[in-house]
Amino acid sequence: MSSYKHFIVAALSISAISVSSPAALQCAPVPDSVTLNPNGKLYSPFTFNHAKHIQSIKECADCHHHTTGTLVLAPNCARCHQNSSPTAVVSCKGCHLAAPFSPETLAAKRADKQRYHLDKMGLKGAMHQNCIGCHNKLGNGPTGCQDCHPRTKEGAAFYSTNRKGAKPAHAEEE
C-alpha cells in the first residue's frame, strides 16, 4: 500500500528537522490529504482529508499514539512511554502490520519471547477502529462502510447487493 508513503516521507522529514532545531516541530510539513485503500478490490480508493481533521481536532495525539511534537498521553501507554522521546515514525503503517495473521507474523511473535506488544492490531483494524471509534464518539463523522469508500463492481457482487429487497432468510422460518 503505497498510500502511506506520504506519512512515512512526512515522518522522516520531521525527524530530520527535529535533529537540527526542536522548535521547528510545530511547523513541520504534514500531508493535507492522503489516499487510503489505494489498491482496494472491494472498495475504491478514497482521499482522506488530513487538513480538515487537523483543523477540527488540533491535537495530533488524539489519532496518532505518539507524534514528534506531543508526548504519549494515553494512560495505558504512558505507564512505560511517559518520557519517551519523539519517534521517527508516526504513520499507522510504521507499526501496524498489513498482514497481522500471516504465518510469518505468527511465527515471529512466537519466537520473540521478550515481545511486550503481543496484542498489536493490524493496519486495517487499527485504522477502522480509530476512524469509526472517533466518529461514533463525537457523533459527527461517517460510520457506514460506504460513507467513506464506495464499493467497486466486484465489491457489489461480493456483498450480493443485487439481492436487496429479496425475502430475508428468517421470513421463511415464520
Partner: protein, 305 residues
C-alpha cells in the same frame, strides 16, 4: 474353580469397577486440545455488525447466493443460527442499551473434544491438529446425530438433497487456508479486527490480557476457554454472556463425559456378564447335585405330603 475363589474374584472385580466409576469418568476432560491448535478470538466489543464475515464465508466456501444482500440490516430483527447455506451468521443483542447494540458472530466453535465427532458412528468428523473440526460427506449417512449432539447448534443440514445427505458447518477454512497456516476468510476481511487469529494457547493469554488492561470494557470471562472442555473459538463480551445468546449453563466437561461412564460399562457387560452368570448358573446346578440329589426325580414333589 472353587466356589470361594469364584466369589473372591467377583468381589475384587466388582470393587475395581466401583472404584473406577467414582474416579470421575476415567480422567475425562483432561484433554486440553492439540498443543499447536489454532483458534480465533472474537471480541464482541469491536464488532460493528457489518456482516463482511458472512459475505467472505459465502464466497470462500462457494455457498449459494444469500436470500437477501449482506448489507440488509433487517436480518438482525431475528436471531439466526448457522445453516447449510450460511456457515456463519451475525446476531444483534442489547439493542435498547444506551451503549449501543452488541453483535455476536456465530459459527462452529471447533471444540477440543467435539460432541459431533463422538456422536458420529461412521467417523465422518475429524479433529485436525490445527484445531479444525472437519467433515467427510462421503461417509456421512445423514443420521443427524451430530446436530443433536452439538451444544452450540452449529451443524446445518442440507434438506434440498434427498439422495446425497450432507451436514454442513464451518470447517475453519481448513482446505483452502488453515492447512497452509493462513487465517480463515472471515478473519481476514473483518475491518475492525474483531476477530483475532492465532494459536489457541496464545489467544487465551491475549484475551485475559485485554480484560486486565481494560477491565471496564469486558466481563471477566473468556467464553470457550473451558466450556465443554474448551473450544478453538473464544469470545470476549462487554456484558454477561447470557445476554448475548450464549448458553451459560454448559459444563466445563466435554459432552462425551456425560456418557463416558455409561459407555465404559459396555465392555464390562459384554465380557464379564456372560462368565459371571454362567458361573452362577453352574454353581446353582452343582449345589443341587451335591446337596440333596432330588433333581432327577420330578415326581418327588408330588409324593411329598
Amino acid at each position: 474353580m472353587k466356589r470361594r475363589n469364584f466369589l473372591k474374584a467377583c468381589l475384587i472385580g466388582g470393587t475395581t469397577i466401583a472404584l473406577g466409576k467414582t474416579n470421575k469418568g476415567w480422567a475425562s476432560g483432561s484433554f486440553e486440545g492439540y498443543p499447536e491448535a489454532m483458534g480465533v478470538l472474537v471480541d464482541t466489543t469491536r464488532c460493528i455488525g457489518c456482516r463482511s464475515c458472512e459475505a467472505a464465508c459465502n464466497k470462500e466456501q462457494k455457498l449459494p447466493e444469500p436470500d437477501t444482500s449482506f448489507d440488509d440490516p433487517s436480518v438482525f430483527e431475528h436471531d439466526r443460527r448457522p445453516t447449510a447455506k450460511a456457515y456463519t451468521v451475525v446476531n444483534r443483542y442489547q439493542k435498547e442499551q444506551p451503549s449501543g447494540p452488541v453483535y455476536r458472530k456465530v459459527q462452529c466453535n471447533h471444540c477440543n473434544e467435539p460432541a459431533c465427532l463422538t456422536s458420529c458412528f461412521v467417523n465422518a468428523y475429524t479433529k485436525t491438529k490445527e484445531g479444525a473440526v472437519i467433515y467427510n460427506s462421503k461417509v456421512c449417512v445423514g443420521c443427524r446425530n451430530c446436530m443433536i449432539a452439538c451444544p452450540f447448534n452449529a451443524p446445518g443440514y442440507d434438506y434440498d438433497s434427498a439422495t446425497n445427505p450432507i451436514v454442513k458447518k464451518c470447517i475453519l477454512c481448513y482446505d483452502t487456508r488453515l492447512k497452509y497456516g493462513k487465517p480463515p476468510a472471515c478473519v481476514e476481511i473483518c475491518p475492525q479486527e474483531a476477530l483475532t487469529f492465532g494459536h489457541r494457547a496464545d489467544l487465551i493469554k491475549l484475551a485475559h490480557e485485554r480484560i486486565r488492561a481494560t477491565p471496564d470494557r469486558y466481563v471477566d470471562h473468556v467464553y470457550g476457554e473451558k466450556e465443554v472442555g474448551g473450544t478453538s473459538w473464544l469470545y470476549l463480551a462487554p456484558v454477561g454472556f447470557d445476554k448475548l445468546g450464549f448458553d451459560t449453563t454448559l459444563s466445563n466437561d466435554p459432552i462425551i463425559s456425560n456418557v463416558k461412564d455409561f459407555l465404559g460399562m459396555v465392555p464390562m457387560v459384554l465380557s464379564i456378564w456372560p462368565a459371571l452368570f454362567s458361573g452362577i448358573h453352574l454353581l446353582c446346578k452343582n449345589q443341587e447335585h451335591d446337596g440333596h440329589g432330588h433333581d432327577t426325580d420330578s415326581n418327588q414333589e408330588d409324593t411329598k405330603p
